[in-house]
């Protein structure tokens, strides 16, 4: 009887919450997280304000830094929009269409996740830069930089939209079509609203990735201050020029902006889908 009472008093889920090692393992994991992620970031934030708030602001708003930031945000936005369009199209074709090699194409979408960014940058420069086999030379221009960003962000929208498309019940579309709606109208009024949250998720990830991309961009973008220098390259150069404070200030600003944008997209997404009950 006593043992039964004792067993009843032990809360259900006590063992479950110890699955995976319980408090000790959790403590070790948090400690790891702190040392590997939080401590360096704290050092970064500390260095950025090491000259005082005025110095932080002055470094972050240097004309060259601001120009790089404007370019970075602009390119990332364009990249996100292009991805929204092409990513959705590709997801559509992969889910709704049937053609030989479809499985192969589907697998290939993940390549930008797997290929080192420097290799991507190298080959894009060779192909679409001076001396390239197609006579296209966009090296050291904003378009070229955009190409590099499009490469590395390719999978995000596609992979976000695909599962939603797969799950989508096609009855409504068929009903609308049988009532005479043209296919684009069907897409616009029925399919697209259902895809929008997924597209926005993909766009948010693509945007965040594009803002920080370095390896793919560093070869093809050139170092032109005020013209094709993105923030990640600017930060790298500031580190090389021994301006750790300036690099840290711009980094912190970049991080804050990208977090703000992500939160904004997330909020927009929740607002748009506020009437959905998923």
């Amino acid at each position: 009887m006593a043992t039964d009472a004792a067993a009843l008093r032990r809360p259900i889920g006590a063992a479950t919450s110890r699955v995976g090692g319980g408090a000790l393992a959790r403590g070790v994991a948090m400690g790891y997280l702190s040392i590997v992620v939080l401590l360096p970031l704290a050092a970064l934030v500390w260095a950025s304000r090491s000259g005082g708030l005025a110095e932080f602001w002055s470094q972050a708003t240097q004309p060259e830094a601001l120009a790089a930031l404007k370019l970075t945000l602009g390119l990332a936005a364009v990249c996100a929009l292009v991805n929204a369009f092409f990513g959705t199209t590709i997801a559509w074709v992969l889910v709704r269409d049937r053609f030989p090699g479809r499985g192969l194409v589907d697998a290939v979408i993940d390549l930008p996740f797997a290929l080192p960014t420097i290799v991507a940058g190298l080959t894009l420069l060779a192909l679409y830069g001076p001396g390239g086999p197609f006579g296209i030379d966009v090296a050291f221009t904003r378009i070229g930089t955009l190409f590099a960003l499009l490469f590395v962000t390719l999978p995000f929208v596609v992979r976000a939209v695909q599962p939603v498309l797969l799950e989508l019940d096609q009855e409504m579309e068929e009903a609308a079509a049988s009532l005479g709606a043209r296919s684009f109208a069907v897409f616009r009024r029925i399919v697209f609203p259902n895809l929008l949250p997924a597209i926005l998720s993909g766009v948010a990830l693509a945007f965040a990735r594009a803002i920080g991309e370095f390896g793919a961009v560093v070869l093809i973008s050139g170092n032109l201050p005020f013209k094709t220098e993105v923030s990640s390259v600017y930060i790298f150069q500031q580190v090389e020029s021994d301006n750790g404070t300036g690099a840290a200030a711009v980094s912190v600003l970049l991080l804050l902006i990208s977090l703000a944008v992500l939160v904004g997209i997330g909020a927009f997404r929740r607002w748009r889908t506020r009437h959905d009950h998923v």
Binding site: L33, A47, L122, L124
Partner: protein
Amino acid sequence: MSRWVLRFTALGYLTALLLVPVGFVFYRAFSDGLVHAWDAVSSGRAVHALELTLLLTAITVPVNTIVGIILALALVRGRFPGRGLLNAVVDLPLALSPVVVGLALYLLYGRGGWLGGLAEHGIKVLFAVPGMVLATMFVSLPFVVREVVPVLREIGTDQEQAAETLGAAPFQVFRRITLPAIRWAVAYGVVLTTARCIGEFGAVSIVSGRIEGKTETLPIYVQSQYAFDFNTSGAYAASVVLALIAVATVVLLRVFQPKEH
């Protein structure tokens, strides 16, 4: 007709942006012949770069997998304040530019940094392997966590609780019920983590010091061959090794794709 338009748009975009560039890596690497390409990747420096890349991966992946599973469990099952914050911290590496990661490590462990004194006591972090390990760990942290969390949410705690009421100890519950349920998610996350480790460039670039034959990973070696040694074919040969690994990664991702229910 619109089907063909869509197909053409999608496939055309993919070809121009993805297939041609990746294919070009192979083409350029072998354009001077197989022997030349082989020579380029079998030099001592290239072999060391590959070994270092694999070493960094071999250290990082198990650690981030184990920690990732623990953190995923904490995020889904744990009951402690600050879970939302933990979620944000775990996702941080995805929002950060690799250059910023490298800079943060450089500021922490460099001379004058909070842990800059370690170097004076013989523990070299920057410009040595440990710094590169830390950079790799930082950038590849989220993947296992993010893959496991949704699966854990989905499977719920019913089975685990049942096992527990039948008298199973926590580790047994984990080993026999939780782990098998999440193993595909873990595998997928491991593949993503591995790919990220191998391909990392920006962060390790800043902390490596570019010491030939000692702190060059294969991606750094690629850039060095191209930009420094004027050895374009060497750069492409090393790139092919990385591209082959990438293709293998993509195949594995397909194999471990989270199964739909």
